[in-house]
């Protein structure tokens, strides 16, 4: 079973301390909600897991593979991710993006991309430019790309941004399907989006994380569920700076 471990990780940018995480383990398959206010360090943590940011101290590992410059390539093969959309996508066609992803992940490209697109509810030509798609359609496309290589860990930073209600339902179904034997880590500002989908949650505030708790534990411990867990942690967090 894949285990993602984050041990004694700190990260600072300039003179500002951004992260201080003592111990965080994502042990079993499931959907882990990473919740916290704006600027809590959620995206920074996810970027550290993907090797986009280098931690100052501590280590991040998947099973026994510790993330560093030498292992980064192997680490990335195990991860699928959706981050904020970059404008480098806009000049590409859907086909070019999928071709590139399949090539670098060593996958055999199918003869037609339409089944992959239809899987995320996209009924568009593979030759269409990504820049001509709506925000929600691009978000669906990025999800299709992120899950295409069946990653052991799926990291989704605000995946519901720009999605219409049908898109939210479809994305949730896809995430549920994928989480049956994989780890999914998901951030969202909307508890409504997370409720009913996440199996566990961890709150993040001022670069620090709470204990990871299952939704059953949270509902048993806090009368107002996820909201109560969230407020109890952020109210007692002391700033790192």
């Amino acid at each position: 079973m894949t285990r993602l471990k984050i041990n004694h990780v700190t990260k600072s940018i300039g003179n500002r301390n951004i992260l201080r995480i003592d111990n965080l383990r994502f042990g079993n398959n499931g959907i882990y909600g990473l919740i916290g206010p704006n600027g809590a360090g959620k995206t920074t943590l996810l970027k550290c897991i993907c090797g986009l940011l280098v931690t100052n101290t501590g280590d991040i590992s998947i099973d026994n593979l510790v993330l560093n410059r030498d292992t980064r390539t192997d680490f990335l093969k195990k991860i699928g991710s959706v981050f904020a959309q970059s404008d480098s996508l806009f000049d590409l066609s859907i086909k070019e993006l999928l071709d590139e992803h399949y090539f670098f992940f060593g996958l055999t490209a199918p003869q037609k991309w339409s089944p992959i697109l239809e899987n995320v509810g996209l009924n568009v030509s593979e030759n269409q430019m990504i820049g001509n798609l709506s925000l929600g359609m691009r978000q669906r496309l990025l999800l299709a790309v992120a899950i295409s290589h069946k990653p052991e860990i799926l990291i989704l930073d605000e995946p519901f941004n720009g999605l219409d209600p049908d898109g939210v339902v479809l994305t949730k179904d896809l995430i549920k399907q994928h989480s049956q034997d994989k780890i999914v880590i998901i951030t969202s500002h909307s508890f409504a989006d997370l409720n009913g989908i996440i199996t566990d949650a961890v709150v993040m505030a001022d670069g620090q994380t709470s204990y990871l708790k299952s939704i059953t534990e949270i509902n048993g411990e806090f009368p107002d569920g996820l909201m109560g867990f969230y407020h109890s942690f952020i109210n007692r967090t002391v700033s790192l700076n």
Partner: protein, 233 residues
């Protein structure tokens, strides 16, 4: 090699526009300078009546325009992947960042060199035939095959050096636009010097052009190491 082939295949679509632009510009400049020389009756020893001078000026003119045009293309095919938020997409690919950067740079350089070489050789050949049928220069151009080969190599090396230096500046300063501005500045500085050198000291200019490529390669290696260590904020 597999990665190179992949990147090269993505850049195939720029081969024809660069080849046509190179050929068109070179033919235009060759004809222009030769016609100016032909009608320059005030001075019987006009520089522009000699094929070598016409070839040198035309080659440098082509180099100047191409250096800026190709830097714009480099902004889209190379620099763009390494600036701003686009870095995240590039760095998330499961391949050594350094290797990917070198592969992209090599594929881009190979595409440019190939398109330019074909464009320059065809246009020079076309002018040579034209010059034989309707003599525009005093000395017949078909006797200058070596000059054509040297000027082609110089033109490719100088263009590539300007494009690579400008692209590296763009990546370093996190902006495609700054890379294009750098290419304009390089062209302004280089154009006169290169024209004089190519007219008077052909082999020295060849050596300088090759030396610039060596320097660009060294900077590319250092840039790759920097990219490997960098972060995508």
């Amino acid at each position: 090699m597999e990665y190179f082939n992949y990147e090269f295949s993505r850049m195939k679509k720029i081969l024809l526009p660069i080849g046509l632009t190179t050929g068109g510009l070179q033919l235009l400049f060759l004809s222009f300078f030769a016609i100016v020389g032909k009608f320059d009756t005030e001075d019987g020893n006009s520089m522009l009546t000699h094929y070598n001078a016409v070839l040198a000026l035309a080659t440098i003119g082509t180099m100047c325009v191409l250096a800026i045009y190709v830097t714009v293309l480099a902004g889209r095919y190379l620099v763009h992947d390494y600036v701003g938020m686009n870095k995240s997409k590039t760095y998330l690919l499961p391949i050594s960042r350094k290797e990917l950067f070198y592969t992209k740079t090599k594929a881009f350089s190979a595409s440019i060199s190939l398109a330019m070489a074909v464009g320059l050789l065809i246009s020079n050949l076309a002018f040579m035939i034209m010059d034989t049928v309707i003599p525009l220069t005093r000395d017949q151009s078909f006797t200058h095959i070596l000059n054509i080969i040297v000027s082609t190599i110089v033109c490719i090396c100088l263009t590539l050096a300007v494009v690579l230096f400008s692209s590296f500046i763009g990546i370093k300063l996190d902006s495609t636009v700054k890379g294009i501005i750098a290419s304009i500045i390089f062209v302004v500085f280089l154009s006169n010097l290169a024209a004089i050198a190519l007219m008077s000291y052909e082999f020295v200019s060849l050596l300088i052009a090759v030396a610039l490529i060596v320097i660009a390669t060294m900077i590319c290696i250092s840039m790759g190491n920097e990219i490997d260590k960098s972060e995508a904020l």
